[in-house]
Subunit: 219 residues, 2 copies
Amino acid sequence: MTNSARTPLSRERVLLGAVALADTAGIDSLSMRKLAQDFDVVPMALYKHVAGKEDLLDGMVDVILAEIEPPAPGATWKTAARTRILSARRALLRHPWASRIIESRPAPTPAVLAYLNAMIGIFRDGGLSAGLTHHLMHTLGSRIYGFSQELFNATATPDPQALAAAATELAAHFPHVAELATTASHDGHSVVGQGCDDQYEFEFALDLILDAFERRQQP
Amino acid sequence: MTNSARTPLSRERVLLGAVALADTAGIDSLSMRKLAQDFDVVPMALYKHVAGKEDLLDGMVDVILAEIEPPAPGATWKTAARTRILSARRALLRHPWASRIIESRPAPTPAVLAYLNAMIGIFRDGGLSAGLTHHLMHTLGSRIYGFSQELFNATATPDPQALAAAATELAAHFPHVAELATTASHDGHSVVGQGCDDQYEFEFALDLILDAFERRQQP
DNA sequence: GGGCTTAGGTGTACGCCGTACACCGCGAGG
DNA sequence: CCTCGCGGTGTACGGCGTACACCTAAGCCC
């Protein structure tokens, strides 16, 4: 009656479990030991399915990449790229830890290369030269994956008292920062902290870049 | 004769020592214990000068920020920003670990806020509206600090044998990536791996963004 | 069916890490 | 002279990734 009929581990089960754990407990709580605990298994058991923690993280990136929808056929390169990147962004927003992990990988996995290859293909097939495509990839940077480096990660202080205090502090010493923080660019009602619509800003920058390259394509 | 006349520690000495250690041994080798060893001191001694490792990393960012030259007065906002950002980039290139640390800080230090405040001031004093400045800051992203997220961090394989093998492997499965990797956009002689001039690409993207906002300033 | 291989889970152990807490020597100020 | 507190010490704890030897049970060939 030991109910020993556990479904056996596999690389895929380990990776999905790791993603789930990171989603619920936060990426900092993701350790081989905790992950093993989730499977009611001894830590070393994971090493039969994953080469080590680095390999685990690589695999998690691949899982996120797999959530990105393939590009819709029959669109201009600009809308195809835009759609794909915004789909990537949606995947990234489902897993807030993912951008940090993507940034930290020292070498690209085959899945990452395949993703980049497809993105480059969109531009080349759209008629952009190899050189211009190269520039475009560099200019997009991490936006290709659907995120951009925030100047400072939202500090999540839901306490309105401390928030107001921080605002006056900010205004006193860093007036320009304060002005921008309280200016919600495209709508009026905003406070410091969540005063800017990240999605809007992301699309604004993305479109600005894509438009600029479209102009250079046919002068 | 115990030569006990050590110059006492201080927050500044600790931070500079940490930067030096990260420069020489790599950021992954930077631990409170190793750092203490560099000072011939027991690990806990450091805690009299820094609150903990997070505070240490914050302080290291401040040290790097202090290396950035102040903006030259009497220039247009565009060249002022350009100069400052390229100076930031030079500082970052002196400390290859720095971008990873900057990215990872959960909250900005006063020094970071001061840097951003000065940068925003350049744009506002140059006549850009608050809204446009806001967009510009988002579009620049981490480029404000002098770096951009590389699609994949150079994997430093100086072995020409393995490198050539990787190149054919790449060409077989990811032809578009291979094409871009072997196309050095602005000069001809290049191989996969270091086939692109990161500095050129950085300035290209930076200028493209600044130019785009200049155009929007006065239509 | 008997023995062999082997994939997959176990147990123990090592060396690292950050840091809490109690302690103590010593120079300065009352 | 006595006290206070700054800065360095020693010990210890809990966590981490993972190397290595081991065991067990299922699958396979003869």
